[in-house]
C-alpha cells in the first residue's frame, strides 16, 4: 500500500469536488490509480486521454509509484 498526494485540475477538480487529497492505494502505477479513481468518482475522461505527472514531472503512465509521490492527472490541455 502506498500513501500518495493527488492534485486535481480543471474538469477533474470539478468532477472530484476538491483540488487535492491524500490517499492510500494498492495501485502501483499512475494508469492503475487513474482507473481506480475514475471508477470511484465517475470521471468522464477515459485513461487514454489523460497524461500523468509525478513530483512536477511528466511520467509514463506505467511508471511505478513510490511512497509519498505527488501525482497529478492531466486532462487534454487547451492553452493559448
Amino acid at each position: 500500500m502506498l500513501t500518495l498526494h493527488i492534485q486535481y485540475f480543471a474538469i477533474l477538480r470539478e468532477q472530484r469536488g476538491l483540488a487535492q487529497e491524500k490517499l492510500t492505494t494498492t495501485a502501483a502505477t499512475p494508469a492503475a490509480l487513474y482507473d481506480e479513481l475514475r471508477a470511484r468518482h465517475a470521471f468522464t475522461l477515459t485513461g487514454d486521454r489523460i497524461r500523468a505527472a509525478v513530483n512536477d514531472t511528466f511520467v509514463d503512465a506505467t511508471t511505478p509509484l513510490r511512497e509519498g509521490d505527488r501525482v497529478v492527472f492531466i486532462p487534454p490541455v487547451a492553452g493559448g
Binding site: 497529478v72 492531466i74 490541455v77 487547451a78
Partner: protein, 148 residues
C-alpha cells in the same frame, strides 16, 4: 523566461526586457480572448494551470526554440484566472538578428505551448453554459454542459 501570471500582462514592460543591440528583429505574438469559438458566443473564459509543470515545460520549449533557431532571446507569459473578451491570454516575444528566425521561433513557441503545457480553458457562453475545451467525451459531441 516562461511565466504563468494571475495578473494582467504588462506588454510594454515585457518587450522592454528584450531590448538588445544584437537584435535586428523582434516578433511578438498576442493571443486574445475572442467572442466566438466553434459557433458559440463566448462571454468570458477561465484559464487554469498546473503552474510548476507549465513553467518548467514552457522553459523547455524556449530552450528548444533557442537550439533550433538563430535567435537572441525568447520570453513568454500565459495568463490564468477569469478573462474578459479582448483580454490578452498569452504573449510570446522573440528577438533575433534577422526576421526569419524570429518569426519561425515565435510560431514554434506558441504552437508547442498550446499542445504541451498543462493549461486548461473553460469557456463561459452567452447562453449560460460552460465547457472545458478539448475535454468533451463521446456522446457529448463537444457540446457545452447544461447550466447549473
Amino acid at each position: 523566461m516562461f511565466k504563468i501570471s494571475a495578473q494582467a500582462v504588462d506588454v510594454a514592460a515585457l518587450q522592454a526586457t528584450l531590448a538588445d543591440a544584437r537584435a535586428g528583429a523582434c516578433v511578438t505574438f498576442e493571443g486574445w480572448v475572442r467572442v466566438r469559438n466553434e459557433g458559440q458566443a463566448v462571454h468570458a473564459l477561465e484559464y487554469e494551470a498546473y503552474a510548476p509543470l507549465a513553467e518548467s515545460e514552457g522553459e523547455r520549449i524556449l530552450a528548444e526554440a533557442r537550439a533550433k533557431y538563430e535567435i537572441v532571446a525568447a520570453r513568454a507569459v500565459h495568463r490564468v484566472g477569469h478573462l474578459q473578451l479582448g483580454e490578452l491570454a498569452v504573449w510570446v516575444g522573440v528577438t533575433a538578428e534577422h526576421r526569419g528566425a524570429a518569426f519561425d521561433a515565435c510560431r514554434y513557441i506558441i504552437d508547442e505551448a498550446k499542445a504541451r503545457l498543462p493549461i486548461w480553458k473553460k469557456e463561459h457562453y452567452a447562453s449560460g453554459t460552460t465547457a472545458w475545451i478539448n475535454c468533451a467525451t463521446r456522446g457529448e459531441h463537444g457540446a457545452a454542459s447544461p447550466p447549473p
